[in-house]
């Protein structure tokens, strides 16, 4: 099982190419507010995460994920299920 900081670093690495504003990425960074991602960017990013971890992040689940910490939790759960 991947530990939390390792998962955070991996996801942070996936966020960076989409982090056009150069926002500092921490657990509480929000996708809509801080990173200012529109729906198209969200879709591209979700596809990246899904393909990197070979998982599905349903739109129902996406609706509950607002910040990076929540994404770390969700992906951890999906990859250890």
């Amino acid at each position: 099982m991947t530990d939390r900081s390792e998962m955070f670093d991996r996801l942070k690495g996936l966020i960076e190419p989409f982090n056009k504003k150069g926002v500092e990425v921490v657990e509480t960074t929000t996708f809509a507010g801080d990173l200012e991602w529109d729906s198209l960017t969200v879709m591209d990013f979700v596809a990246e995460v899904e393909d990197s971890f070979d998982i599905i992040i349903s739109m129902n689940l996406q609706a509950e994920i607002e910040n990076v910490g929540q994404l770390v939790d969700a992906v951890t759960k999906l990859t250890t299920a």
């Binding site: 198209l40 879709m43 596809a47 899904e50 393909d51 070979d54 998982i55 599905i56 349903s58």
Partner: protein
């Protein structure tokens, strides 16, 4: 007190900003007179209609109008009831019979709008624990159907067969799966690779629903849509369609060969808990659907119009949504909303109506001037349309 309308402030400000630049409001246009499927009077001016989805020009067809008048006389103005109570008249059955014949399918169910057809079928057949896999650029009625139901929603990149296949493979093998596709996507007018998408869906054990709203009547040998054109209609479990485009009236439907399909009439809430279509509407629709079965000359002319408009706009230097004419929708890409609204207004001043489409309805945040052709547009009208585009485009500085 918190004003519940404060959530709309950003949109209100954007709209006011746009109107302050002096353009007419693109979203409150009134057709004062409608002279034919291709000409109306707007702001007192005779205007060519190039944004109505009235693909086959059936709105003023003599037989269609005669059928409607007769039904109005014989069955009255409305049904005042649900399809499952007092709202199914002879005309509703005749309309469903016409659809079954048109598609060569066993079952047909007529809804009061196309929106309700997607809302009802999708929310009802995919339940808790099931998965709906849909194209990210799906129509609002598809998304709303998903939101109304209890299934898990999985989106894939627009028209990307690999992305669809990968996601299907990651889902539990024994879970119920519904793949939702459209034949023609209405914003750019591009066609889906249904053949490949349906193949990978079937391999994954999924049922397939295809919305053929923008292809009925003129794509495919019998006008049954993109699935027919690509030779895969037999593998489609549910076809969703509308009367408000090629058929020329209003209403929606689902056709299917599923042996248990008729149960939908009892469990589908947007079918049960609303009044059925008025007698005149179903009579017009049935007459129109029957005429659409035999219309190869009109279909050929519509394709000719679409190709000529696409080629002509490209030659003038406009940026278009598709590299070639794939349907009767030609989308002209605008640099931004302000220029798009200015161009829209300039076209209207030149006596030409098109749709102004903007986010969130459009993909990739684009502003589009969406043109939809009609089989009743003459070749001269298409040439005239191109002249008006040239004048307006130069006036606004887009070409």
């Amino acid at each position: 007190m918190t004003d519940l309308f404060s959530k709309f402030d950003a949109l209100i400000a954007q709209r006011e900003g746009l109107l302050a630049t002096g353009v007419k409001d693109p979203f409150s246009l009134v057709m004062e007179e409608v002279k034919s499927p291709t000409v109306a009077v707007v702001n007192g001016k005779e205007t060519i209609l190039l944004g109505t989805y009235n693909y086959m020009g059936m709105t003023f067809d003599d037989d269609v109008i005669a059928a409607g008048k007769q039904a109005l006389d014989e069955f009255g103005a409305g049904t005042t009831g649900s399809r499952v109570l007092n709202g199914t008249f002879q005309g509703h059955k005749e309309c469903e019979d016409a659809l079954k014949e048109f598609y060569g399918m066993d079952h047909a169910m007529v809804f009061s709008t196309g929106y309700q057809a997607n809302l009802g079928i999708i929310s009802t057949i995919a339940g808790k624990g099931d998965y709906i896999i849909l194209d990210i650029d799906s129509h609002a009625s598809i998304y709303d159907g998903c939101k109304m139901g209890d299934a898990e929603i999985v989106a894939f990149r627009h028209n990307d067969v690999d992305a669809l296949e990968k996601r299907l493979k990651r889902l539990p093998a024994d879970a119920g799966k519904l793949v939702v596709l459209e034949g023609v996507y209405s914003m750019l007018g591009d066609v889906a690779p249904l053949k490949e998408m349906i193949r990978v869906s079937k391999e994954a054990g999924a049922m397939v629903l295809v919305d053929e709203a923008h292809s009925m009547g003129f794509i495919g040998e019998n006008g049954r849509g993109v699935a027919e054109e690509q030779g895969v209609l037999d593998d489609v479990d549910f076809v969703i369609g509308t009367f408000s485009k090629s058929v020329g009236t209003v209403g929606g439907f689902c056709v299917s060969n599923h042996p248990k399909f008729e149960i939908m009439r009892l469990v589908c809430r947007p079918y049960v808990f609303t009044a059925s279509l008025p007698p005149a509407v179903v009579a017009c629709s049935a007459a129109s659907i029957r005429k659409l079965m035999h219309n190869s000359n009109k279909r050929a002319h519509l394709w000719e119009n679409s190709r000529n408009l696409h080629q002509g706009l490209r030659d003038l230097g406009f940026q278009l949504g598709t590299p070639n004419a794939q349907s009767a929708i030609i989308a002209v890409v605008m640099p931004d909303l302000e220029k798009g609204a200015a161009m829209w207004a300039a076209l209207l001043e030149n006596g030409l109506y098109v749709n102004l489409a903007r986010p969130p309805a459009t993909p990739a945040g684009m502003t589009l001037l969406r043109c939809s052709l009609c089989a009743e547009h003459s070749s001269d009208q298409v040439a005239d349309i191109l002249n008006r585009f040239e004048r307006a485009g130069k006036a606004v500085g887009i070409i």
